[in-house]
């Protein structure tokens, strides 16, 4: 692999992906996880755009660009979804990460479907 600009671009994209993945695993707050996921996606998009380079100064390959656009749409939808769930959980419990939400679960709105759910069930499900 020759050390060219597209190559560096692609490698940078992969490194951004790794940074995003690390942030996702390590950060607890829902918003930070959503941001980390967006960084991951940005990294994979940068890698895909780097793939679009062909013939050097010639026309770029449109297929990776189409993949990037689709990926952007998906990540925007996922972020919106994650934010909606975060807002909902904050309204219900006042917490915005898994620890505090689970800790405050007991004093919260009544479950409509399964009245028998306890924290212990959830804990065993979490580690199971």
């Amino acid at each position: 692999m020759i050390l060219s600009v597209p190559f560096l671009y692609g490698v940078t994209g992969l490194m951004i992906f790794a940074i995003g993945l690390h942030g996702f695993i390590r950060r607890a707050h829902f918003l930070r996880k959503a941001l980390a996921f967006n960084i991951m996606s940005a990294g994979s998009f940068a890698f895909l755009v780097a793939l679009a380079n062909r013939n050097g100064d010639g026309m770029p390959d449109p297929v990776p660009h189409a993949m990037v656009l689709t990926g952007i749409v998906v990540s925007v939808s996922a972020t919106a979804f994650a934010l909606a769930l975060t807002v909902r959980l904050f309204q219900l419990t006042g917490g915005a990460d898994f620890e505090s939400v689970l800790r405050s679960q007991e004093g919260c709105s009544p479950e409509t479907e399964n009245p028998e759910i306890k924290d212990s069930d959830f804990a065993s499900g979490r580690q199971g």
Partner: protein, 506 residues
Amino acid sequence: MILASVLPHVVIGTVVVPFLGAGLCVLCGRRGGAVIGLGVAVVLLFLSGMVGVQLARTGVSSYAIGGWGYPLGIDIRVDGLSFLMIMTTSFVGTAISFYATGYFGKSSDGDDHQGDGRARDFFWSLWLFAWGGLNVLFVSGDIFNLYVALEIVSFSAVALVALGGSVAAAVAATRYLFLTVVASAVYLLGVGLVYSARGTLDLAALGLVSHPGGIFAVAVALITVGLMIKSALFPVHFWLPPAHANAPVPVSAILSGLVVMGAFYVLVRLWFGVFAVALVPAAGHILGVCGSVAILWGSWQAFRQSRLKMMVAYSTVAQIGYMFLIFPLVASGSVGGVFAWSGALYLAASHACAKAAAFMVAGSIIRVLGHDRVDDFHGLVARYPLGMFTFALAGVSLIGLPPSGGFVGKWLLLKGAMLSGQWGYALVMMVGGLLAAAYIFRVLENGFHAVEQPVKSTVRVPWSMQVAALILALTAVGLGIVAFEPLALMNIDAPFVGGLVEGNPS
């Protein structure tokens, strides 16, 4: 004559109809949702049958949307494996739709069991979106289209899980959402790597690779990890039990029966279609070890659960492990791989029926008793005998007792393991069967336990709920009785031709 001209286009109907129905459900609100949902289910069942007829008549078919085929357009491709998945989804999906009309509607005593009705409002459109996404998944002939379909299915499934409404449901949905989007990002990176190596995204063209290179290995790893998360394979299965504990019962059936099967299907399609040249037996063993631990761990956790829904959820984790044994058994390259291929996929189909039936019965039991604590099931057989019967039938398939679809699947897998000399997996499968028997019998033993004063149930379970569960359980058993034709149909254009093509499991 008309049939011959219409049949090739039926495949598009399986993709278009559920999305149209989902749109109509959004417009029609509460009452119309169930009607549209049921209508779409019946139409899809018919269309899936037509796809099977087309498959039997002309073999593998490829449909070019808009007249643009490869390399300009995205191909739709139907072979035996796709048809098995489409048919299973249609059949189980129709039964789930019938169940949901009873579950979300008013029961015979006039009591509206679903709290604020919001679950009912949105269930039908979300379910039809998920169903459409699954159908797109099964017929896609393009690796990036598989990514789009996985996203449709995942987002619909997350929203369905969040329909539970409680804090625990929202937490479970958040956990599932985060994990599934990370899995998708990893999968997308794998697809990018595949494209960088080959310059095409079409599955058939990718399958012609002769010099895989190192990039393919990395792409296999990334895609496999992403799909492992989506199909809840140990050790990344931990989103599944909380999602099941807090979701409405029809959603549990959809999640366990169909959504995880979709992710497993993509992995099978990619491993044996695109990545076959890059496989070494060690790669299969990684998945095999995860699957083996899933079988043992999932079955053990299922036995330990106090609630029936959680027990069935952990049973899903175990059965997914069985399905993932296809990878080491087939990648070993021996003749046993032919049996393992048929066995794992047949197991997936019968698991969808049996698992959905088990969840439906759990929901009905909650309706009757008000709880699902297994240890307090005493006298249940007197209050709800049809439920115990249905659960026993589903359990027969889950354990793998003859005659049932689960038995045929596990028998073929065992045969594959023994023929390829991989005794470890055979031993794990047999122990897993014993553990499955343990938790199924635990439920039955508690249900058949006599009580001093049998209480006659005052809560009537809607007949649609009971019949749907019974039909699925009977199908799970029936798949073991009429196994030859489905196996033959399923093996059309399988990667392994010869030997088992006639579908003879002996």
